[in-house]
Symmetry: C2
Subunit: 145 residues, 2 copies
């Protein structure tokens, strides 16, 4: 095989606050890829690392938050200057915690699904993920009174 | 999260013979999903199992062949009756070996890329993978004489 660009697997998580808003992180202007763009917490799978371990580690490194990981929420595929990425996106659950950013990000925001779909500075591959997520995610049935 | 169908991760491999033809397996008519259709060797990721370990195991179970695993060759996404699948497809290298089928498949074939793109009984998601693979896969440069 002689692919023009190698594929890698990355893992990301969607985290929600008590209002159901999603956590987004804004990448540093010095970032190698997508500088200044909004991002989900996550990153590359380490060598010999399980998908679930990698996503818990990445979220912790980038937000200071220890998540209790849920199921797979969806996927995204995208191309960087030097590689192609297959991103597996997990449900990171509902959290109440302060966000402690790493050097990779400069800002965080909690954003509703409607706002996310309108955001200019969110890469198209994450928007596509959120569109599928909105279509696939049934609201829980109303609680009986 | 309350997805209508859960997502799972599966792993598959492309194996080639000395002519550069790809190994395809035909699913049993009793298969739960895609009965009678052509398939790549591969399957579900086990709990706590690394992607690379899972694909080597699945290829061995379904073909009796021990592969030396290469890089990621691409991906496919598809929907089954009860779940959605994110498939990571590895390069399983060039092999010279007899194929010993498991109960899951009834027939095997070695097929050129051109034939694969014409096959009616190959699911569309694998055809899409092979189309991308053909576009991305540069032929090795000619050997100096």
């Amino acid at each position: 095989m002689n692919l023009e660009k190698p594929y890698i697997v990355s893992v990301y998580a969607v985290l929600r606050n008590e209002k159901g808003e999603f956590l987004l992180l804004r990448r540093s202007e010095n970032s190698h890829s997508n500088p200044g763009k909004w991002d989900l917490p996550g990153g590359k799978l380490g060598r010999g690392e399980l998908l679930k371990d990698a996503v818990v580690r990445e979220v912790w490194e980038e937000t200071g938050i220890s998540i209790v990981l849920g199921e797979i929420a969806g996927y995204a595929t995208f191309e960087l200057p030097d590689k192609k990425v297959i991103a597996i996106i997990y449900d990171g659950g509902y959290i109440i915690a302060d966000v402690k950013l790493s050097y990779e990000h400069v800002e965080h925001a909690w954003s509703s699904l409607e706002n996310i779909l309108e955001m200019d500075a969110l890469p198209e591959h994450f928007k596509e993920f959120f569109k599928r997520f909105a279509a696939e995610n049934k609201e829980p049935p109303e609680l009986p009174i």
